[in-house]
């Protein structure tokens, strides 16, 4: 029995739509290709006869005139001027389902008779094609003439009125001043006017009273907060990473940045450039780099066992999709797996764009075991921290200087008294552990240095003969078992240290963990140090976060297979790759720097004991042998490396030590030098501590060498098509990038902000229009492409776009222009026949009415109840949320803030992606998983439950009711009037007053009988209790306040 209603519904749509169209093109007016034809071709034909080469049938493209009019196997699809000879017309009028177009089983809606007629007429009129309007740079159109010349206040109104007059509409009368004031206050600041401000405006009889109000609103800091709320949807801003663990991250400085830039009215071209490529600007300033955090707000994972590259590719794609939706208004993601089916975007274009966004030194996984910020990062020093770091830095410089002097003195000493030939074997200074693997007692490996710190064997590495000709045994590892050495080698990067051992690998290892002190690798982003074999070469690394915060060197040559090799490594404590050395068989091995970007400590996340042979979820040293591990708490010199090697090397011929090595050794081991080294180490530790204290923010930082990029077959991360390399190029169908621009993100930003770019300004003004009018001139603000909604007034959009650029991309000026237009200042009320004729309000013959956004809804309640804590910026806060929601996930129970965190504006509410705040989601906040340009607008019973039962809203009603009960007003009628006006910004009408008075009377009677109930109601939320005598009265007013806050006059902007 409900079906007829639904059918009726569709009849209504079509009637409305068809009626609308028929008015748009009376008589034999020429068919408009942009408006009437292309949308039909795109919707019904392009998926098989469009830009996507792989899906194309009959080699026919109806998006290109050359192809449509060319002779194909079965004839000519479009014969200009001759519909009767055009195969397309034959096919669309075909009655045999097997032959008809679009095929009934294609999922495409059949063409209606009216639509068929449009196509027929189009061909009859010569089948003219025009380039899609949005892909051609806008020209400033002439402002159209209008009949009713007294209405327009400016150019906007003339465009609007002209289209109204064409359709036989006329504007609505102006909105009453109080209604207009409320509308513009919410649109520009997201908050209602307080009563005093409202009165100030209403009592200002000057002609420019409204313009002055607008200027005050644009100058208030609440303006930036309001604009930021929308921008954060595009930026997919969230306080957690998303995916399953959904851990916390500190990214709120980016939110501060957005608020600040809007308030300071940063020109929109800079606003775009800083977010796309601020890091690449010459001498980039702090705020320019911070803008690029926009690129890093996407979700990230740390799920165990994930493939790093799979997710890195996902992140780059997310940046491209976000770039497309936010700045180009195009659904670029459609071209990820195949050419775009509707817009002229190829898969090659997609991966070309990816190559702009993939050149940062990032990992596909953030750290599981530590809270390291995923690289690349920027530091957010406070002034005090900056000073502390500079001080520590200068102490380090002094210590380096002191060490240099100590060394010179040692050298002078050496010249005076030539060194004694060093006796052998020399004792190794600074030894923390020395293990010969023949000494196994009770499964423990004896430590020659301290007996109480033996090594431990896990899962039995097998004892095997050691280096030929020597006494020592060795261990053979399985790749899954290990030997561990607790209590030694517990170093940070600031500590000079060395390690030495013999290794024998049975084969060329692609990757094998020989030695490590860190918890896990690929899927865990662990901190620590390590010796690995990678692609046959030996590498040595100190890691805070791989790859962007680490130092790593590797040998230039591969190490021998099936042969004992002595390996030693040393670190000088400087934190630079130049301070690392690898020795092979006693000699410094030539190495290559793999990474040189360590800035923070390497000891977080519980690195555990120094371990040989294996690491959690990493590739172990399968069937590898190890012997004679020495763990040394200082940087060894070349002479010592040689001696340690010789100590256990098979049959080393005794050689005269190289005087140069002796000199170096002596210069580095005098008593004074050792003392200076300790001082330097201590100074470096202090510097490290000062640096570690600084908060980091994810940002963009271009790698020196761009990462090689390819088209990924079907979008799969592991299927690069090596025959189709991708390069930093803009989509071929759009105007090309000036060759003078750099081929990187900065060049992309220059291209975007260039006057020849057809999309950037249109997309921007279209969204600003939606801020003021509830919907864009192109209603699909996220898509100005071929499948987007056609603009309701293209000339107006183009005029605004060009004007915007000419104004220096001045956002405030553009908003001012919009909200001071007569179109904006109309009443939103309208009689049924006007609503029926233009249900979507495309012509703006009335102002739009809109429900408050989720933020505005809650902020209004906080503002009118006096609870709002007006503080700009800062970390996110945790207001009321029903208990138990977080406990289905990780991260512990939600802790409601005590104090001001409960009453900050809603854009500061903590956003946990997997469990977003329910009272905001229910009012259509976006989920912040991906970039979204336009919110839903729903109306559900659950919204009613939030408004009337959510403790946050009840608390507001109670605070408001209590003020109303105690506050001004001689009698109930006066008090109710004040209360209503405080919330709704206008005085109640008689019918409203009497409904409120009736409710107040009933509630008062009820609460007088039930004072306990009144007390209970008043305790909702954290507001202080009323005196017992006032409870019933306060509760009665609170009940009325709750009702007003739920009513249309409060929840809708009219």
């Amino acid at each position: 029995m409900r079906a007829p209603a639904a059918n009726l519904l569709f009849v209504a749509v079509f009637t409305a739509a068809a009626g609308f169209m028929s008015r748009e093109k009376p008589g034999d007016a020429p068919v408009d290709f942009q408006r009437d034809v292309r949308p039909l071709l795109a919707d019904r034909c392009f998926s098989c006869h469009g830009p996507d080469e792989a899906a194309r049938k009959e080699n026919l493209r109806l998006d290109l005139r050359e192809s449509a009019t060319a002779l194909k196997k079965h004839g000519v699809a479009v014969e200009p001027g001759k519909p009767e000879e055009s195969l397309m017309i034959e096919k669309i009028y075909e009655t045999d389902a097997a032959q008809a177009m679009p095929p009934p089983d294609s999922g495409r809606k059949p063409l209606s008779p009216a639509e068929k007629e449009i196509l027929r007429k189009w061909i009859a009129q010569g089948a003219k094609y025009e380039a899609f309007w949005a892909f051609v740079a806008p020209k400033k159109p002439a402002v159209p003439p209008v009949k009713r010349a007294d209405w327009p206040k400016g150019e906007i109104d003339r465009f609007v009125l002209s289209s109204m007059e064409r359709e036989g509409f006329s504007p609505s009368p102006p909105a009453d001043r109080a209604t207009l004031a409320r509308r513009v206050a919410f649109d520009l600041t997201g908050l209602p006017l307080d009563t005093a401000e409202l009165d100030r405006y209403l009592s200002d009889a000057n002609a420019d009273a409204y313009e002055k109000l607008v200027d005050r609103l644009l100058a208030s800091s609440a303006y930036g907060e309001r604009m930021a709320a929308d921008w954060l949807d595009l930026a997919r801003y969230a306080d957690t990473y998303g995916y399953q663990a959904d851990a916390h991250r500190d990214v709120w400085p980016y939110r501060n940045w957005v608020i600040r830039q809007f308030n300071e009215n940063l020109p929109y071209d800079d606003f775009m450039t800083w977010q796309i490529a601020g890091d690449l600007l010459p001498h980039a300033k702090f705020d320019q780099v911070l803008g690029t955090a926009f690129q890093r707000m996407h979700r990230q994972t740390n799920e165990g066992g994930s493939t790093e590259e799979e997710f890195r590719v996902e992140y780059v794609s997310d940046r491209v999709h976000t770039f497309g939706t936010t700045f180009l208004g195009l659904t670029i993601e459609c071209a990820r797996c195949h050419d775009h089916k509707f817009d002229p975007l190829t898969q090659q274009d997609y991966y070309n764009l990816c190559s702009f966004f993939g050149n940062i030194d990032e990992s596909g996984l953030y750290s599981y075991f530590t809270n390291a910020t995923p690289t690349p990062v920027m530091t957010m020093e406070t002034p005090e921290q900056k000073e502390a770091i500079e001080r520590a830095q200068s102490d380090v410089e002094s210590a380096i200087q002191a060490l240099r002097i100590a060394r010179i003195e040692a050298e002078v000493q050496l010249l005076r008294e030539p060194a004694q030939p060093p006796h052998q074997p020399r004792e190794i200074v600074g030894l923390e552990g020395m293990y010969h693997f023949d000494k196994v007692a009770e499964g423990k490996l004896q430590n020659e240095v301290s007996k109480d710190k033996p090594g431990i064997m896990n899962d039995g590495p097998a004892p095997v003969p050691g280096v030929a000709g020597k006494r020592n045994g060795a261990l053979q590892l399985s790749g899954d078992n290990n030997a561990q050495f607790p209590g030694v080698g517990e170093w940070n990067y600031t500590d000079p240290f060395s390690l030495s051992l013999w290794i024998e690998t049975p084969d060329r290892k692609e990757r094998a963990v020989v030695l490590k002190r860190s918890r896990a690798w690929t899927d865990a982003g662990s901190q620590g140090y390590q010796i690995l074999i990678e692609k046959g070469k030996l590498s040595f690394a100190l890691v805070h976060f791989w790859p962007g915060d680490a130092i790593c060197i590797e040998t230039e040559r591969e190490i021998p297979v099936g042969e004992w090799t002595h390996a030693a490594v040393s670190n000088d404590g400087s934190g630079a790759a130049s301070g690392l050395k690898i020795y092979l068989n006693g000699k410094v091995a030539p190495t290559r720097v793999v990474r040189d970007c360590l800035t923070k400590s390497i000891t977080g996340g519980d690195p555990g004991a120094l371990t040989l042979g294996e690491r959690f979820r990493d590739m172990g040293f399968k069937n590898g042998k190890v012997a004679d591990l020495a763990v040394i708490g200082r940087e060894i010199t070349r002479l010592e490396a040689l001696e340690i090697y010789q100590m256990n090397a098979p049959a080393t011929p005794a050689a005269e030590p190289d005087p140069e090595l002796v000199r170096e050794f002596v210069m580095n081991s005098s008593k004074d030098v050792e003392a200076a080294k300790i001082s330097l180490r201590d100074a470096r530790r202090k510097l490290a501590a000062a640096r570690d204290a600084v908060v980091e923010m994810m940002c963009m930082k271009e790698m020196r060498e761009p990462r090689p990029a390819y088209v990924l077959t079907r979008g799969r991360y592991d299927q690069p098509d090596l025959k189709r390399p991708a390069a930093a190029r803009t989509p071929a169908a759009l105007p090309p990038m000036d060759p003078a621009f750099p081929k990187n993100r900065l060049g992309l930003a220059r291209w975007l902000t260039d006057a020849t770019n057809p999309l950037a300004a249109r997309v921007a003004v279209n969204r600003l229009w939606a801020v003021c009018f509830g919907r864009g001139i192109v209603a699909t603000t996220e898509n100005l492409g071929i499948q987007g909604a056609p603009p309701s007034n293209r000339e107006l959009l183009d005029w605004l776009a060009v004007t915007f650029v000419q104004s220096g991309w001045d956002i405030k000026a553009m908003l001012r222009r919009m909200v001071t237009s007569a179109a904006y200042c109309q009443a939103s009320d309208a009689p049924p026949e006007i609503r029926e004729r233009d249900p979507e309000n495309r012509l703006l013959a009335r102002a739009p009415a809109r429900r408050l956004s989720s933020e505005m809804m809650r902020d209004q309640m906080l503002a009118v109840s006096g609870l709002l804590v007006n503080k700009i910026g800062g970390a996110s806060v945790k207001p009321y949320q029903p208990p138990g929601l977080w406990s289905i996930g990780w991260g512990g129970e939600y802790q409601t803030d005590a104090g001001e965190g409960r009453h900050r504006r809603s854009l500061y509410t903590y956003w946990r992606r997997t469990v977003p705040p329910p009272n905001m989601i229910l009012f259509d906040s976006t989920k912040r998983d991906v970039c979204v340009a336009r919110r839903q607008n729903t109306n559900t019973p659950l919204q009613s439950l939030v408004l009337m039962n959510d403790p946050q809203f009840v608390e507001g009603a109670v605070a408001l009711g209590r003020r109303a009960a105690a506050g001004g007003g001689a009698d109930d009628a006066e008090k109710l009037k004040l209360l209503f006006r405080t919330v709704c910004g206008r005085a109640p009408e008689p019918a409203e007053s009497s409904a409120l008075a009736e409710l107040l009377g009933a509630e008062r009677a009820e609460f007088n009988k039930n004072t306990a109930g009144a007390g209970e109601f008043l305790q909702s939320g954290g507001v202080a209790d009323s005196a017992p005598a006032e409870r019933a009265e306060s509760a009665a007013f609170a009940s009325v306040a709750l009702t007003i806050l739920s009513s249309d006059a409060a929840v809708t902007l009219r």
Partner: protein, 478 residues
Amino acid sequence: MSPEFIDNFSRREMLKSAFFGAGAAAFAELLGVGGAAGGTGVLGSPHFAPRAKRVIYLLQTGGPSQLETFDYKPILNKRRGEPLPDSVRRGQRLTGMSGNQSLLPVVGSPYKFHQYGESRAWVSELLPRTAGVVDELCIIKTMYTEAINHDPAITFFCTGAEQAGRPSMGAWLAYGLGSANANLPAFVVLCTNKAADQPLYARLWGTGFLPSEFQGVQFLAGKDPVLYLNNPGGISRDARRRQLDALDKLQQNQFNKTGDGEILSRMAQAEMAFRMQMSVPEVTDLSAEPEEVFKLYGDDSRKPGTYAYHCLLARRLAERGVRFIQLLHPGWDHHDHLPSGIPGLCRETDQGSAALIIDLKRRGLLDDTLVVWGGEFGRTNYSQGKLTDNDFGRDHHPRCFSIWMAGGGAKRGVSHGETDEYGYNIQDIKNEGVHVHDLHATMLHLLGVDHEKLIYRYQGRDFRLTDVAGKVIKNLVA
């Protein structure tokens, strides 16, 4: 006017123009398209006669081991500890959790398998109650998926895509078919209240780009079975009625003044909320259930928030016409210590699942209620980590795993498909493999919906639950 605007044209805008002047009551009747209101959904009526009118999806999250439940592979016991032959693995990708192990030792189930019922289906001793209803089940041993990590995999099962941002299956059905009960949501979600490694998140029952009124409404174990359901302290039902009556007057006045039909819609939604304040506590109050029902579902069914309790609640919701009821039970992620972990999970779920089948059947509801049991992927036939005499773990395995369906037009008493001897690959993937998209297509088919025709246009593209793939597996349909 673009097709997008005709297709997705806001109902309310239309109603405002088409039925302007109708009273609030008539309006509420017309409004009932989806979400919490009763109604027909956007399809109006199904594409063809449905076999199932509703779905109860028993989602076992974490990835239950098929080898300990339904897929009997004795060779793994015989070959215990031997490396997984390369001829079986065929170089397919593993997760980073076991992919770097130097040895992948195969391991069989320590639990005994028997054949049960007339269908002689193999079921492990861990699921004795399920074994008792095996003749009602359509066991699919040849499920497969593409994702290998939890988040993408479970997102794939719930929304048909590995990436976030798509509507969940329940949201699609609420959108397409609406609700059969004007006082309850069309899509209800019940998460077992227990701590687990695999968190559950709202995205799994979200609407993606569909209007948010179609999102799953989570019923909670606490004082408010639906968020914000209860009036604030001190506000009685009578007081709420008075507030709503005053609200009606305010809004009627506003409507008279503005002519905006949206106001009537808001009034109707407030009334619906008021009714839900009665209907939700009624459905979640199990106190009137007879003793024998609690016996059937087991002792757990007396404890709010348990799986068995939710199975019983699911039956009550099904009786009242809720379209899609999704249970989520976490904890199946047995990377290690599987022998000490999986028996508990089976105990938590076995009796409730089986009782639900029996209970629905005796009430005549099984015929038109489709019940589905399963996780987001299966587990490896080799041990992750060390295989010892009495301990091992299993890593994620997307290549083959077992789920079952029952009722709602699914075949009774069959086991569909075979995996290879080692339980690593599907023997004949072309003819017997059931991809996630295929499962979705088949479920929609049973609901009378052509999966290629339940579409929503977003960002200029037509989206559907099955993306651009999926086929109805006729062999699963009775």
